[in-house]
């Protein structure tokens, strides 16, 4: 498949997935919380296009896009959202702790910033074992104010570890605008504190993201150390499902919605004659079928047995 179509398809898949998850959540089918990544699909797809299956990935509470793009099996993923025994984490993790070691997804995290030092650690592992893997840690603009960010990246810088620190600046930390939680203009500037390259990229442009990620991955695999990438993007919905988003600046929002990464690539592909309504409909159908299939699988899966509650605490 054409690379661009491929990107498009993956972004669409994430968008459709998130929309389905929202509707399930609203129907009360999914326990816990849900943090939608709608609007940020280009970052997930662009970054993961530069990765191999063996590479490691850390994500956040807003991680569905990342793990789908990394290749996580959708059935096990949806089952986890349903807290079923067939879930990737056997129902013990949920959206906020989703993990799939088989495709290098080393976990979402409920503690903002906490994946960053862990990512330095897996990259250290790779460096010591010379296994050629790189690690990507996704996190948000809000996370870039945590001590974990500073300590974790500094350590990777000092040790020259193969890590990509991928900051999705989606303009919000919960209800707080990025303008009010930091004074620095560009988060990529923070790379200067560590003596590593800091790259700023349009996070609504999947190809730009893919290129920046690919360059950083090459650097990492060559032993040249970590890179901090800031992808400029926007959280189209609330912080979590149920957030009333009263704090949102509607002009800002409207401006960003115009930059919808999926709409952008659609236009692009249409102009290039690579996409038409027919193909689009087919893609959506195919994607929705996969999603429905995954939901069916989850719904029909067994709950965990109560006896399992005390399993997996110790080896």
């Amino acid at each position: 498949m054409n690379e661009q179509i491929c990107f498009y398809r993956q972004m669409l898949r994430i968008r459709q997935f998130e929309q389905k998850a929202i509707s399930l959540f609203e129907k009360g089918e999914l326990p816990g919380f849900l943090h939608s990544c709608i609007g940020q699909e280009a970052v997930a797809v662009g970054v993961c296009s530069a990765l191999e299956k063996k590479d490691y990935l850390f994500t956040t509470h807003r991680g569905h896009g990342h793990v789908l793009a990394k290749g996580m099996d959708m059935k096990r993923m949806v089952s986890e959202l349903y807290a079923k025994s067939t879930g990737s984490n056997r129902g013990k993790g949920g959206s906020m702790h989703i993990m799939d070691v088989s495709v290098g997804v080393l976990g979402a995290n409920g503690v903002v910033g906490a994946g960053i030092p862990m990512a330095s650690g897996t990259a250290l592992s790779s460096k010591m074992k010379k296994d050629g893997r790189v690690t990507v840690a996704f996190f948000g603009d809000g996370a870039s104010n945590t001590g974990a960010f500073h300590e974790g990246i500094n350590l990777a810088a000092v040790w020259g570890l193969p890590t990509i620190f991928l900051c999705e600046n989606n303009k919000f930390s919960e209800s707080t605008s990025v303008k009010n939680h930091q004074r620095v203009e560009r988060i990529s500037e923070r790379a200067k504190a560590f003596g590593i390259p800091g790259i700023h990229v349009d996070g609504m442009d999947v190809e730009a993201v893919a290129k920046a990620a690919a360059n950083s991955v090459v650097r990492a695999r060559n032993g040249e150390g970590p890179t901090l990438i800031e992808a400029d993007t926007y959280r189209f919905l609330g912080h979590y499902l149920g957030d009333q988003v009263e704090y949102r600046n509607e002009d800002e929002h409207a401006e960003w919605v115009l930059k919808d990464p999926i709409v952008q690539i659609e236009k692009h592909l249409e102009q290039a004659g690579l996409l038409n309504e027919e193909l689009k409909k087919n893609l959506i159908q195919e994607i929705d079928a996969e999603i429905d299939n995954a939901v069916d699988y989850a719904v029909n899966s067994a709950d965990p047995h109560p006896n399992e509650a005390m399993d997996h605490i110790f080896v």
Binding site: P31, G93, M96, G110, S173
Partner: protein, 332 residues
């Protein structure tokens, strides 16, 4: 008297203390309007008092606690909100190594009118990092007071007391209590930190509890009453300092003790209470002391598994039954 929610009682306490004393202010993540805090306790406050005194912070738990401490030792009375007790792990150097000790280390040169407000508790599938009950950690630290209200009235009266306190207080709410309703006085009622409350008198067994488990204790006592067991319920309200006298007096009457908390049994406050009672009330005890708490596991996401791990009134009933061999007639 009005009937209001726990969350509103907390807000009233903050509001009244901010009105009363301009050195009181609050800082934390996403507490400003229109969001008004993750659990909406601060809703309306930044609109009323301005963003100078109701301050959103970056995600920087260590700096939140540290900056609040700095403000506290220089004449302000900060309330630092840490969104989840789980995240106080990130502030804990400032709370434990600094705030709890700075008065002592300085030979009494400063006082520390600092409130760390946070919340804990399971029951809504928040998973392993959004519901831990770690109050025993703070109660182990000399220099800290640890307050854990179970009712709207206590929430208000104890938060007011904590704000007026010149020592650092870790004030721990429970997320499942925010919506419970209860009667709250219209007056400026400030409760005493360190005083337990006998919320129901009884003859056969003493149930010591605090925070959310008080409500489970009440359910348990109701159910026990049906089989003729009369339980006295003590709500500790403050776990440090511990009101051991109230407990001992009750045990001297009932001769049986069950301690119930949502925290994991092992290493929880229950052990401390048991050890104190053993030492100071040894001859009063007619049966082993039972501890009720959650199983020694991280909290699972699955609601079904979560129920397996977290204790409830049934566990209290079972514990009481295990130390009262034969159900008796109702004695009160």
């Amino acid at each position: 008297m009005r009937t209001i929610r726990y969350r509103d009682a907390l807000r009233e306490a903050i509001r009244e203390e901010m009105t009363r004393d301009t050195s009181v202010f609050i800082m934390g993540e996403d507490i400003e309007d229109p969001f008004g805090g993750s659990y909406k306790v601060t809703k309306g406050l930044s609109t009323e008092f301005g963003k100078e005194r109701v301050r959103n912070t970056p995600i920087s738990e260590l700096a939140i606690a540290g900056a609040a401490l700095g403000a506290a030792i220089t004449g302000m009375r900060p309330i630092a909100e840490i969104m989840y007790l789980d995240f106080t792990t990130l502030s804990i150097d400032q709370i434990v190594n600094q705030a709890a000790k700075i008065r002592y280390m300085s030979g009494g040169q400063v006082q520390v009118p600092l409130v760390i407000r946070t919340q804990e508790g399971s029951g809504n599938s928040s998973g392993a990092q959004h519901g831990q009950c770690l109050e025993a950690w703070y109660a182990h630290i000399p220099g800290l007071k640890v307050v854990m209200p179970a009712t709207p009235a206590d929430a208000k009266g104890l938060l007011k007391a904590s704000i007026r306190e010149d020592n650092p207080v870790v004030f721990i709410e429970n997320k499942m209590l925010y919506n419970i309703k209860g009667e709250v006085s219209d007056k400026d009622e400030v409760l005493g930190i360190g005083k337990a409350n006998i919320i129901r008198e009884g003859q056969d067994v003493t149930i010591v509890s605090y925070s959310r488990m008080v409500h489970e204790s009440i359910k348990a006592a109701d159910s026990l009453l049906e089989e003729g067991i009369s339980a006295e319920i003590i709500d500790l309200r403050t776990i440090a300092p511990l009101d051991i006298d109230t407990i001992l007096r009750s045990v001297a009457k009932t001769h049986r003790l069950v301690i119930a908390h949502e925290a994991v049994v092992n290493g929880g406050i229950g052990g401390e209470v048991a050890a104190r009672v053993i030492k100071e009330g040894f001859d009063e005890l007619d049966a082993p002391i039972e501890r009720v708490g959650s199983k020694a596991s991280p909290l699972p996401f699955s609601p079904l598994l979560e129920k397996e791990i977290v204790c409830d009134f049934n566990d209290i009933v079972t514990a009481v039954q295990s130390i009262i061999p034969n159900a008796k007639e109702v004695t009160i």
